[in-house]
């Protein structure tokens, strides 16, 4: 099993840390992982993206052209990465601020209104965990317990009291994700 994922959105949405938690979860499950961020001026106020690969085999290229899954969190990223999903692959997006919805018919499309859901929770910082939960509901490539273990590993100790609310976010995401389209 190899899952090649791109997560793309605005800097500050927690794109990179969501990727990091996913990568740590993979390690907890004895998988091979790679995490390759866009870095530099892109991150400051602009778009941020990260390529995460989880695999049973050793990962060859950390740089990819097309992906099994694209997790898209703003319009610029939709424009840039909709075409990068493999045929039959998954596009998961947050509808907040999206004016042009996915148009391809050969991919599976799911929607998660994470921005809206996070505003109903105790902390809007759960945004990226709601998205992660949605992804794991569609593709349960890592077990929830390993995600929690991954969270513990990637968060500094002083933030460990936030694990419970993050877990809550993941579970909320799993509940509210919606399927819009099956690949033709």
């Amino acid at each position: 099993m190899t899952e090649e994922i791109i997560i793309a959105g605005f800097g500050g949405q927690g794109v990179l840390s969501m990727g990091k938690i996913l990568a740590y979860s993979g390690i907890m499950q004895n998988m091979e992982v790679s995490w390759m961020p866009s870095y530099g001026p892109e991150m400051r106020g602009g778009t941020a993206n990260v390529t995460v690969i989880l695999s049973e085999e050793k990962v060859s290229s950390p740089i990819l052209h097309d992906f099994d899954t694209a997790i898209i969190l703003n319009q610029q990223s939709m424009d840039k990465f909709e075409q990068s999903v493999k045929s039959g692959g998954l596009l998961l997006y947050d509808g907040n601020g999206i004016t042009r919805h996915p148009e391809r018919k050969d991919i599976n499309v799911f929607r998660i209104d994470a921005a809206e859901e996070s505003s109903k929770m105790s902390s809007t910082k759960t945004f990226n965990m709601i998205v992660l939960g949605a992804f794991l509901k569609i593709k349960p490539i890592v077990e929830l317990e390993n995600v929690i273990a991954g969270l513990k590993k990637s968060l500094p100790k002083r933030h460990h009291h936030l694990i419970a609310v993050n877990e809550e976010g993941i579970k909320r995401g799993m509940q509210v994700v919606r399927e819009l389209q099956k690949a033709k």
Binding site: V33, S61, I63
Partner: protein, 356 residues
């Protein structure tokens, strides 16, 4: 027990430096390698091993601190990215001339000039052909994973002391910034023995003065010194070549690539094989010494070579020299900070197969 961690390549370099028992790091921040210095500063290795970490006032100062400290026989290093490494070249030439061991890490970004902060591999010539003045060589290691960013720090110090020669680790923005699983090696002790034959640790009554210099005004003595250096470089060429071979046994076409381009080319090999094209990958782990003999022998049985690097074509010259006209050798690469994808690499090979 070794420890398993998820780390950035740059962080792995820093942690490995502490664990390799380095005595000192001197550096100056520059993207995309600043995490080396940041990690060292936050880790406070002076409390763990007594290792000194110092942010110098400039790259020029940092490399001269390395020069001075290396003269005392200490295990010392610096790191930077392309424009910063250019600034260090005078010092590197002096260190090579004075035959001192040290480790220099270059996390390459796009050039020329201030260039860009995105990944590149356009410092191959500078690293392998002598970026400073004079007839000298660095031992050049090319890590292709976060694991090797850690392992090659240890190897680099070993080789630097074995040959009393500066070792350069030629990485790039991809390997420096990406996170992977890394198995950290156990903590090594810092040095407590300093070879009295050359180190400047204070003269004792039973020996003459040790003088560290790269200057000799007598050209005949300088020629002799150069001959000795050349003999050392030939010995390194004979003994220290390291490569990784992937799917090479039945290959008809060989990608030659190092660092992140090797990872990307490995994926291109997988894609090519799925299409029935017999491609393989030769990945030099050492760029000096370059695997000339291995490539020359491969040239007797394959149809062609594609050198893949994020440059306008630098290593391809060494591949051509090794192949010596036996079969075709071409170059492919995006550059100036653009990273090629595995699909682009495969397309380049397919176009060549069709054309040749």
């Amino acid at each position: 027990m070794s420890e398993l961690k998820l780390m950035k390549g740059n962080e792995a370099v820093a942690e490995a430096a502490i664990r390799a028992g380095a005595d000192a790091y001197f550096g100056y921040p520059i993207t995309p390698q600043s995490e080396v210095l940041e990690y060292l500063m936050s880790e406070q290795p002076e409390k763990r091993t007594g290792m000194i970490v110092l942010q110098a006032e400039s790259e020029v100062a940092a490399i001269n601190m390395v020069y001075g400290a290396a003269g005392t026989g200490k295990r010392v290093m610096t790191s930077s990215s392309s424009p910063g490494i250019s600034l260090k070249q005078e010092g590197i030439s002096y260190i090579a001339g004075a035959e001192l061991p040290c480790l220099i890490v270059n996390v390459v970004r796009g050039g020329p000039g201030l260039g860009t902060i995105q990944p590149s591999q356009a410092d191959y010539f500078q690293s392998t052909k002598g970026g400073g003045h004079g007839d000298y060589r660095l031992i050049v290691l090319a890590p292709a994973s976060v694991q090797e960013m850690s392992d090659f720090v240890k190897l680099g110090f070993e080789l630097a002391f074995k040959y009393r020669n500066p070792v350069l680790m030629l990485s790039d923005g991809v390997i420096g910034q990406m996170m992977e699983k890394v198995e950290l090696f156990d903590q090594q002790p810092r040095l407590d023995y300093f070879d009295p034959a050359w180190t400047t640790t204070g003269k004792t009554d039973d020996r003459g003065r040790n003088i560290i210099t790269s200057l000799d005004l007598d050209p005949y003595l300088m020629e002799k010194h150069n001959q000795m250096l050349q003999a050392k470089y030939r010995k390194i060429e004979e003994l220290e070549v390291r490569v990784e071979e992937i799917m090479i046994e039945d290959a008809e076409y060989i990608f030659v690539a190092y660092g992140s381009s090797a990872r990307i080319s490995q994926k291109a090999v997988e894609l090519a094989r799925a299409k029935g094209i017999k491609a393989g990958l030769l990945r030099p782990k050492t760029l000096f010494p370059f695997p000339k003999r291995i490539i020359s022998e491969l040239a007797d049985r394959v149809k062609g070579f594609l050198s893949v690097e994020m440059s306008a074509g630098q290593m391809v010259e060494d591949v051509r020299l090794a192949v010596n006209g036996k079969v075709w050798v071409e170059h492919f690469g995006r550059y100036g900070g653009v990273v090629h994808s595995p699909n682009e690499v495969l397309d380049a090979l397919e176009n060549l197969i069709e054309k040749k």
